[in-house]
Subunit: 215 residues, 2 copies
């Protein structure tokens, strides 16, 4: 199978970490789509993913899967431990909820900030910006960090007692926060401690070793 992505992208990181956790990297050919040149907004790529986002998984039979959660659910159902999307109905539900919350309250909010209230991918790619909206989303992400800090004061992982897709989504948030130079608030001690613990996982350490270049 192929993964269309850009190695330093925060969303691609989610699927790369999931692949490493499932030990599936060697089954994948990575095809670079240059975000900084806007290749993800061109018609050839849009035919694969209408929403124009990375990453995209393409199976050998040509079937295409977009969206990090969808790709992770697929990979997780293919085989093996660790299970990233849960085993019981309740685990599955809670992990889906916390993953979505990580997107809404942190990762996606930082993405909107990046694309709308910073130079983002540059004037050739960012054809419309709404700075006020971007700044509000930055503030939302900061509130979100405090929320996840409160979650992690009560439990070791974002969705409870085990590492899951929801942790990976928040790690994506940390990666994007570093790119936009949005510091994690100092008082979010549980969140910072959790992030240090996450870096003990080879899958995460390997991804974080890729320094996010601006170009």
């Amino acid at each position: 199978m192929k993964i269309y992505d850009w190695p330093t992208g925060p969303y691609p990181a989610r699927v790369r970490i999931a692949l490493a956790e499932k030990n599936l990297q060697s089954d994948v050919e990575f095809v670079p789509i240059n975000l900084w040149k806007g290749e993800h907004k061109r018609s050839g790529f849009l035919a694969k993913n209408y929403s124009g986002t990375l990453p995209v998984l393409e199976l050998d039979n040509g079937v295409v899967l977009a969206e990090c959660t969808a790709i992770t659910v697929y990979l997780d159902a293919l085989a093996g431990d660790p299970m990233l999307t849960g085993r019981t109905p309740l685990e599955k539900g809670v992990i889906q909820m916390m993953t979505k919350r990580a997107e809404i309250e942190m990762l996606d909010a930082i993405s909107v900030y990046f694309h709308h209230a910073t130079p983002g991918l540059g004037p050739d790619v960012e054809l419309y910006q709404n700075q006020e909206w971007g700044l509000r989303q930055r503030d939302k992400a900061l509130r979100g960090m405090h929320y996840f800090d409160a979650v992690l004061r009560k439990q070791p992982f974002i969705a409870g007692e085990a590492f899951s897709m929801a942790d990976i989504a928040v790690i994506g948030g940390f990666i994007f926060a570093a790119i936009v130079e949005l510091p994690i608030p100092q008082e979010c001690v549980a969140l910072s401690t959790w992030f240090e613990r996450m870096q003990e996982r080879p899958s995460v350490r390997k991804q974080l070793a890729i320094v996010p270049p601006k170009h």
Copy 2:
């Protein structure tokens, strides 16, 4: 179990349709949270769902699930046909992808339009509006309708050959489009025909019979 929702809400409709498909309605006590009074933004409710959205499922042991996809995944894993979230890894992945796409490209876009570029839930609830952003999201939703129309020219359901959670998400989009009086473009014949076919399902017909009141 309890569902906190508001009967005419487009997102609550998604879970109500899923419950009806799974024949689980009689297991549920519905607790009204009045959107028009902003009850979903008050601290009591925010303690249940940080994101302040409806619906929310509360189990008898007090565990709380928010987010339509998460709730549907949970209900679907509990028992019985029809399976709304897929059986094979690929079915699961495709349904997750198309559900997310229905949100991004139609349902969530209409929601942003409603809350930002119309009076929305009224001045006591809509404390911040960004009209320009709202109008862009309206246009995005209209493009999304054309996208789903193209999808339905090639296959009978949003995620392929079977009814799924992704169809329910687009139905949520139709419900919200009716509330904001955003007509489905006439040229989207496959989309309109699909929606007529969806109304043959008792779960959908019952939900659509609830006329959306403004208050």
